[in-house]
Symmetry: C5
Subunit: 363 residues, 5 copies
């Protein structure tokens, strides 16, 4: 059963980032037709107001009166919607291209009127699920683009609704931080899944004595942890870059929070590296256990054979057909107790060998 | 068959870069006589005009009226052509030497009147095919030198022809960027080939149970990925160096595009490193699978032998020729059911051993 | 028995840092209800006075007259106490959050009115015991928060009580240094435990000939050393950062002492890395010894079998039933000394083989 | 034969750099008495003149009228000659000590009146031959000290004689560059030898199936490549340092050539690293092939044994001596077709086992 | 015997640096009571005078009239002597603590009035012997503290006595350099011992075919080389730091000599790294040779068994007791040449198998 699961796992495309149509003009929106259609969800708020709805007509954006508007787009399957939003908020074409081409490394880029941040949102439903989140933050607005519905942002929405913390009193920059922090914090439960799985796998190795299904599962985790690594390491540089930026629409007071967020990223990276080292350890253990088990088998089998081969020789000896009329030819055959003598000899040999093996510590 | 292919592969010269005639005066053009003759293709354009043709007489270059001229030379087999072009555009002799000596690492060098960029253009036709592209960019001109016809530039030519993007409104520096970007973007489909091959190879390992042909193929990919690495890592430094340069003929606005290009290079490097790690994993898997398979074989064989050796001993026992006139000498031989008794004993032993092995989990 | 111990060991949660409730507002004190209740111990002192007591009412803090007050809180189970202290000393909410969330990496952070330092305090009682210590240092006060009672600070308390060194003449910054130094110095005996255990383990490998319990113990140490590494490496950066800070409440003269403390941290790191390399060596040795032992067994067994199989063949030979009426059919059977001849032949074969194995150096 | 060669190879002193008489006053010339006597060859030239000869009396140096004089000393066995030259050109004692003590790492050092450059000149005659070249470059003079006659400088001499390039029109600094470049360029054919040898070795591994001679050869190349590494990596830093220096006797225009030379060094380093990685790969292949070959052998042998052991059992069965007067005791023995029946049974068993092995893919 | 030696070796304390009494006041001199009593040796000199003696009363230091005084203390067993010296020369308490606590890493520290340098002096008498040397250098004085008598400084003393070099004309800073250089230069013969031992060990591996004693010796060298590494790497940073310092009592002219000393340290580090890589290679070779040897044994034994098992089967065949009255039952038994026929059959089988193995290249 473990085997079947492992096989299914290996069917998954391992290096999705390799696909990219070369040579198109930079800034072109090559929307993947099979991507889900965008669902546009907005939350417009000020200290005292909160307007939350899912809109179908982007014109609704015009009428909003609020300090900060957060437009969350889940699904990238409609170029028209994306283009309209880009025009409405003055987003840079190169950045928009990166939004659609969803295999970016986490990164931060500063444009004239807005910041652009790419993060990778983790989830674990059976397998690792990595989704690109593109975040724009400008004066009074935050835009987030996700590949599909379902995200790590629910706690932030809750805080906005309940006026928890002072989140509604501060600007879009703080919201951007809160979203990044939510993404990073959601990595911890995902990583915890790996911790649990790997400890389980360690037990399985000792129980099952290793073998191919274990190797496949280890390989699978190794690949996923490699992807986790690629999804988290560049976050560090990106947040660092964001902290060093200065812009009128980004309050320096937010930086102390970003430092906290960076700290969490470092802990995530620490965990990922620990897991990677753990997987290497498990590989070593697996090798160790597999070969130990085989050695055990071979040893016992060889010992059995080693004891019976001399016994067989003795039996063969007295099966020889020498002419017993000569007194030199196997006189034992004529003895009254020849057979018990032979059996005794065999027993002696067997016991002697067993004692020898015992003394050597091979049994 | 897989073996044959692997052997053919290993015939290829593995370290072509080692060859170089030492001690020649720097700046000498030592054209490799066996290289293909140059085909000179020009595209001269401005916002409203486009003049594209393949020329045979370099004098044709003089008559062109355009903002930007792109001279693409495919084939380096004729020193005269190269020297004339170098003189016409004032290219530095050391740079021209690097053009001809086609084992350069990717690099960027700034000369007084022009930039010099060496990149490595990848293709995959059966095997990895790496070609050096030398690119000069000065005021109003871009020169590209390729080792042989066939390149990654077709999308750029298309954009020039169709006025796609605003490429014809901007200068030679943007064209240089577009060409570099085309080279980088073309790396993705090449890398994708590796992703596919390696996944196939993983399946093959599990199917075939490993072995020498697998090792040869893995070694082959390892070598090619090493070459890919050498072809891509220095690109990062080269583009970084280009971004830091300042020159009147290089518009700062182009830098934001170079940043995008650099981003793609980083993703290429990421992929190459992932593939390299994948190959290591496959090596481990191959070792694991090969030894697991052998162990399986040995175990079964040893179990068969281990069962029959004790049986053979019993048979030998009753083959002994003790004088059965004594009642102590093998009375079983005289029993009416002696033979069934012996067979029963053998069956008991065989079943007992099988049960023992079963209980131990060796079967 | 070793196995049982190892199994108990592996039950321990290996990656405790993975757990964290995502999405809460930053600066919230999510006290773990199962944590021990805080015991607040204060030492208020000046050159001539020392007031040491365990308080239950934080109001007692107000009446203190002294140059420096050190409040040590052991146990983080009561949010009210922590909040009151934070308000009393003006501690930053983000820092307080880190105090409660006890899986921080060692770090240093400068806030407007106080420094915040997170260290990890090591102990070894059966297993490695790592506890987070959060230290605040401001004008005239030092606060330390520990996860549970029992710490490395006793020598510092002794020095304060006995006016040893000039510790009571200098400010809170020196006390902060002394506490950090006590934490670092207490790492040495803990590390010594590992040195002893590993040397013992090396002996065990050679004595027991390796095997699964050894692998489990090695894995266990590898995990603990990895945790030690995570607990010590960031200390270096943290102390470095502290040394570079400038603040009125931190005397530059303390820096030369910090340099000394940093030096100790470097030695701790050196040791941890040595132990890690030692564990790798032991892994190699274990593999070497295990396989050497198995090889020894297999060799002896195979030699026994190899000697008896030819002997058995000879016995079988003379067990054949050819009609001895023909003079060509096994005339040996009719010889008077046929049996001694056969025995001699067998002895010759056995001795010959033994001599051959001896000469080859296989015995 | 391969073994013999390998043994001869391993006789060579592996770490010659370890030898050094400690504690002598710095700047003392401890000439190795067994070193060859110096042969002093001079080339004095200007744009229109060239005076080339081998001198025996250093006084001849005084009469020379030329822009640049290049004194090449091959052989370091005579302290007097070296001391005179050092005085004549004002060379620093510490530098002269390094000239004689021929195990320096490549390095660059700037003294008040001259530059000092140590490089390692490679050759490959059967084995790797590494020789130290010490180069001094001051106003109007270049001095080179080699350990023994025979060098990589012949192409430079040819260029000087033939006025190839403009080498005779420029100063001593350009000559110094040309000599360094000649050393670096001569590394390529040496490295090519390794490329060829390693590819040959790869074929040998597959042909011979691995083994000890292969291991010895791999070890030998690994050692030599390590030495190549030590001889080339520091060149990069040394040339970089030289490029950053400023002195009146070193024309800035020479720097663009040094950049080219540095580029070649980088390619050499690239190649050395590739070869080192190739050697690691070959180690892996060797292990793989060796164990695959052994496995093949063991598998076939075990299969043969496994088939014959059951057959032997059947034969033993009918060799039992049960009293056939009872109808239950081996009635087969009395059958008319008992023997064909037994043979048929054996054939069936043998064919059955072979079919089983075949189906399992073990044959 | 090799085993016994190896065992003795492993008794040595492997990680001496782990021991340290935590929590003492910084700057306290915790003298190890078991350390040897100090022997104070002084050399006071100027260009024309030299006063060398071993003193027992530190008051003798007062009467000295000389430019430079070098006080060498061998043995750290008496706190009173150390304290007096520290007071006499104004040495910093933290530095004095490091002098006594002899497990420092090599380091350089600048104090107001003097430099403090910790180095590790190597010796090899049977095993590696590493001793801490603490060196203070101030205006007109150099103090060296060694753990025990016996050092690398004799050549410097000789130079002072013989006025070799200009050492007596220059200041204390030059003496400090000369002592450091003597320590570094003495590392070369120690390292040479390792080179010789490792080459010997390589021969031993091939001769003895590997095994546990070899593994123990390799482990032993690996540990010692790790310690050498820890003793030499930080020297580089320490000397670099010293070169960057500026103080009135340190002549800039000494820096060019320090550069030379740094160069020697780099060569030492190079050698240590080479040896470490050599030890890794030997580990690989040992594994290779051990397994090759075992494989050889197993192969031969299995071949012997494989040949005799079919022969035994044939013998068993003709040992069957079929009733030969039927013409179908083993008519060979009744043939006149049945026995020679059977023998011929056996010979044919044996020769056939041998030929098969030969053709396969297994013999």
């Amino acid at each position: 059963m473990a085997k079947k699961k492992a096989e299914k796992v290996s069917k998954k495309k391992k290096f999705p980032g390799a696909k990219r149509a070369p040579g198109t003009s930079p800034g072109t929106l090559n929307v993947d037709a099979s991507a889900p259609a965008p669902i546009v969800h907005i939350i417009a708020y000020g200290p005292d107001t909160l307007d939350e709805r899912t809109i179908t007509d982007l014109a609704e954006l015009e009428g909003l009166e609020s300090d900060v508007v957060w437009v969350d787009v889940a699904g990238l399957g409609d170029a028209a919607v994306l283009t309209q939003l880009a025009e409405r908020f003055g987003l840079h074409p190169l950045a928009m291209e990166d939004v659609v081409n969803t295999h970016q490394r986490p990164k931060f880029e500063a444009y004239a009127d807005h910041y652009f941040f790419v993060a990778r949102m983790l989830d674990h439903v059976g397998n690792l699920d990595v989704e690109q989140v593109s975040l724009f933050c400008g004066k009074g607005f935050v835009l987030t683009f996700q590949e599909k519905p379902g995200d790590s942002f629910e706690p932030v929405r809750e805080r906005l609704r309940r006026t928890r913390g002072s989140i509604r009193n501060v600007g879009a920059d703080y919201l951007a931080y809160a979203l990044l922090d939510a993404i990073v914090d959601h990595m911890f439960p995902v990583l915890e899944v790996y911790g649990d799985h790997l400890e389980l796998l360690e037990e399985d190795i000792f129980l099952s004595g290793g073998g191919e299904p274990i190797v496949r599962r280890l390989m699978h985790y190794r690949q996923e942890l490699l992807e986790l690594r690629r999804s988290t390491w560049p976050m560090r540089d990106a947040i660092n870059a964001l902290m060093r930026e200065e812009a009128e629409y980004f309050d320096p007071a937010t930086r102390v929070y970003l430092r906290d967020c960076l700290d969490h990223v470092l802990r995530v990276i620490d965990l990922v590296e620990s897991y990677r080292e753990y997987v290497s350890s498990l590989m070593d253990i697996n090798l160790s256990v597999t070969s130990a088990k085989l050695n055990e088998v071979m040893k016992v089998l060889t010992i059995i054979a080693t004891i019976f081969i001399p016994l067989g020789f003795v039996a063969g000896l007295y099966g020889m057909n020498f002419d017993t009329s000569s007194p030199w030819n196997m006189p034992e055959l004529g003895w009254a107790f020849g057979y018990p003598f032979a059996l005794g000899m065999m027993t002696t040999i067997a016991v002697g060998l067993l004692a020898f093996f015992k003394r050597k510590g091979w049994l």
